[in-house]
């Protein structure tokens, strides 16, 4: 018997209530007895927790005060610590009269991406390269001074969030090109070069950063000729850059491996030499593919800057720890809690926006068909 349908069947009605808010609730929160129980339990916990936090951090908090006496044990968060130490937390011991230099330096750093993107026309590459070199150098000179009649500010007065940002950005800026070179060396056709690169990369990736920082600070004086002394901030930044270049090399290696073999072969087939193959065909694709992992590495570099406090620098966490041990603020434990939570919030704002930016960048650069 033939099963041909002669008559067009009428459409069935949509399921009752699908696509409404009620059905969303039902599907996502109350789909079964078990799910309902979980929702109720977690809901109670969330509400309770949020109310406690609001009470502690806003309603019951102490906002102003000069010492630990302002924050008795029975009150909530001690933001007085943060407001009283605000300047040190952000700028360290940088002289108050010279703060405009810090602000200008940060403004320059903020201008950089815009200047980079606005560069247009015949000299685009030239303008970009200039901007990329000139602006950071200007910012660093502004911070350290010592030329053009600017008063010199020794690096032991740098501190707080400013120092954290300085270390992180220099480490990132230097480790990226170094890592790129290392990753190319690791892929080289010369066995000796490959061996040196692999050894270098695996060594740094195999040891903890804090041990490396400590080794650099304590051993570097032994490895430079007598009478030379290297600033501790410079030593730290060198250690950071070298250590992280190994991680960057692995990031770029992933990117290089994602470029299909055919791209190399096609480039060679049309007669490009090694540098042109790399520069015009392989690297543009490899670098684009590396962006997500690259941003992840940048985020971990930013988080790792906290380790510098263990070798005596006063970064954001270092300043907070020092201020907490100051006799003025020594006392109730909840001052520690408030101070760390504030620092965590600051770090979170930076790292979270970095990771969101990385997601956006990834979507924009996604040219897969």
């Amino acid at each position: 018997m033939s099963a041909t349908v002669r008559k067009i069947q009428p459409a069935q009605p949509p399921p009752v209530g699908s696509g409404t808010r009620i059905s969303w609730l039902k599907e996502n929160l109350f789909s079964s007895l078990w799910n309902t129980a979980v929702t109720l339990l977690l809901g109670w916990f969330t509400v309770h927790f949020t109310l406690t936090v609001i009470d502690w951090a806003l309603i019951d908090a102490v906002w102003h005060g000069e010492s630990a006496d302002a924050c008795p044990r029975d009150r909530g968060a001690c933001w007085a610590f943060v407001t009283a130490r605000w300047q040190q937390i952000i700028y360290g011991q940088y002289p108050g009269a010279l703060l405009w230099r810090v602000h200008t330096a940060f403004a320059l750093a903020l201008v950089l991406p815009f200047a980079f993107r606005l560069a247009r026309g015949r000299h685009q590459a030239g303008i970009r390269a200039t901007v990329l070199v000139i602006l950071p150098v200007m910012a660093m000179l502004l911070l350290s001074g010592g030329i053009l009649g600017l008063e010199k500010v020794p690096t032991d007065q740098w501190g707080g969030l400013m120092l954290t940002l300085v270390i992180a950005s220099i480490a990132i800026v230097f480790s990226i090109p170094l890592g790129l070179v290392l990753s190319l060396a690791r892929q080289s056709r010369l066995p000796a070069l490959r061996l040196v690169a692999v050894g270098f990369i695996e060594f740094w990736r195999g040891v903890p950063l804090i041990v490396v920082l400590f080794a650099f600070v304590s051993m570097l004086p032994l490895f430079v000729p007598e009478g030379r002394n290297i600033d501790i901030l410079v030593r730290t930044v060198i250690a950071f850059a070298i250590f992280n270049s190994a991680y960057m090399a692995e990031v770029f290696r992933g990117g290089l491996q994602s470029v299909p073999r055919g791209q190399y072969e096609a480039a060679e087939a049309i007669g490009l030499d090694y540098w042109k193959t790399m520069g015009l065909v392989v690297l543009p694709q490899a670098i684009r593919n590396s962006v997500p992992a690259l941003m992840n590495t940048c985020i971990s570099i930013f988080k790792e800057t906290t380790l510098v406090m263990l070798i005596g620098l006063s970064d954001l966490l270092g300043v907070i720890q020092l201020s907490l041990e100051d006799p003025d603020w020594l006392g109730p434990t909840h001052i520690y809690g408030s101070a760390y939570l504030f620092a965590a919030l600051l770090f979170f704002v930076f790292t979270y926006s970095m990771s969101k930016y990385s997601l956006r960048l990834e979507n924009r650069m996604n040219v897969e068909h």
């Binding site: 929702t39 969330t46 066995p191 040196v196 041990v211 032994l222 720890q321 909840h334 760390y340």
Partner: protein, 389 residues
């Protein structure tokens, strides 16, 4: 003459040899210069060289030593005790953060929106805040809020938590402990052989091996039987508060508790994401195909999804374990006696032999990392897709 040279230069093998000799020369020149400078500086500063100091008396106290150590023990012994402390912290941290990470992954994949949202909030929060800051938070701001010894928090009067640390029961092995260890070893072998044989049988005949359960039963029963035969020689030494102090049991220092808490919560956020990504990346068609050939929901996971996801989970997971192990060095910042604490602190201050000590620390961490990397390579080779390349 010129033409011979240029022909040689034009030959790619010769050219690569010249480049490579240049690289080798450059690297060795750099290394030699560094060694020369260091030797000069060491002589100038009058610092002793060599590893003889390892047998000298250390003279400091380590407040967590798993085997006999006293102030009269040698530096070498101190380093060993502290290395064991590092390994304990890493192993426990791996265990706890994997367990927590597993639950985080399940929560992130849950059908319950609220559970999902809370799990992602946890992940974002703990992943984005520096570990050292979290460690300080637990150590200086949280554990210090704990009550004193007299008002300890207790769990069933077995585990006590107070400002001086965590007190847990310690196992005490009576006579015949070696026999029990031996029986566990034997039963592991039995289980392994059964598993292997069952798999071979299944792969060659397509049917499950009927008698496998006897093998597993033997593996489970053997240690129990041994225990019973020896009249259960394992007892628990439970901590008891007497007058001023806890006696018995095993005392975990607050530094240890804080660090374990910090690395667990920090790494579980990463591990949860790794496991979730691995499970999500198994193609939807696999799940549908498994359902359509009639596997139950549980079998879909255990037979189809998990084995495929594992291949994607294990490499980044191993990397995370490596990071965790290296991160335990931060515990030295709050005074937990780990390898970095021993070498970077007291011993260096007392002997001044920076180079040797740094060499010991760096090479030990490097050895641990390489060992884990080797294990990973071995795993990758054992589980890679066969048949296609």
């Amino acid at each position: 003459m010129m033409s011979t040279l240029s022909r040689l230069w034009g030959h790619s093998t010769t050219r690569s040899l010249i480049y490579q000799s240049a690289i080798v020369l450059l690297v060795s020149a750099a290394v030699l210069t560094l060694i020369q400078t260091a030797t000069n500086n060491l002589q100038r500063l009058g610092i002793r060289t060599g590893f003889e100091f390892l047998s000298d008396e250390a003279g400091f106290v380590i407040n967590q030593a798993l085997f006999p150590y006293g102030p009269t023990s040698s530096y070498g012994m101190a380093i060993l005790v502290c290395l064991v402390n590092t390994l304990i912290l890493s192993l426990l941290g791996i265990l706890t953060s994997t367990t927590l990470g597993f639950f985080v992954a399940i929560a992130r994949l849950s059908r319950n929106w609220l559970l999902r949202a809370l799990a992602s909030a946890y992940v974002e929060l703990f992943r984005n805040v520096p570990l050292l800051l979290q460690l300080f938070f637990w150590y200086f701001a949280t554990l210090r809020l704990l009550p004193g010894k007299r008002e300890s928090l207790s769990l069933f009067d077995l585990i006590y938590l107070n400002i001086e640390g965590l007190f847990v029961p310690a196992p005490v092995f009576g006579q015949g402990a070696a026999l029990i260890a031996g029986s566990i070893l034997v039963s592991t072998v039995i289980a392994g052989v059964t598993l292997k044989f069952a798999r071979q049988h299944r792969e060659s005949t397509g049917k499950p091996f009927q008698h496998a359960r006897y093998g597993y039963a033997a593996a489970v029963l053997l240690p129990i039987a041994t225990l019973a035969a020896l009249d259960f020689p394992i007892s628990w030494d439970v901590p008891v508060f007497k007058r001023f102090n806890f006696e018995g049991g095993f005392a975990l220092q607050p530094e240890f508790v804080a660090m374990l808490l910090a690395i667990t919560l920090y790494n579980a956020a990463f591990i949860g994401e790794i496991i979730r990504a691995g499970i999500m990346s198994v193609h939807k068609g696999q799940r549908e195909a498994a359902r359509s050939i009639g596997l139950t929901a549980r079998e879909v996971y255990t037979v189809v999804i998990i084995p495929q996801a594992m291949r994607l989970i294990v490499p980044p997971l191993t990397n995370q374990y490596l990071n965790l192990t290296k991160a335990t060095a931060l515990a030295a910042a709050i005074g937990y006696p780990d390898l970095f604490w021993a070498v970077g602190g007291s011993i260096q201050a007392q002997t001044g032999q920076i180079l040797e000590l740094q060499a010991i620390t760096l090479s030990t961490y490097l050895a641990i990392s390489l060992l884990i990397a080797l294990l990973l390579n071995w795993y990758n080779r054992a589980t890679r897709l066969r048949g296609r390349s």
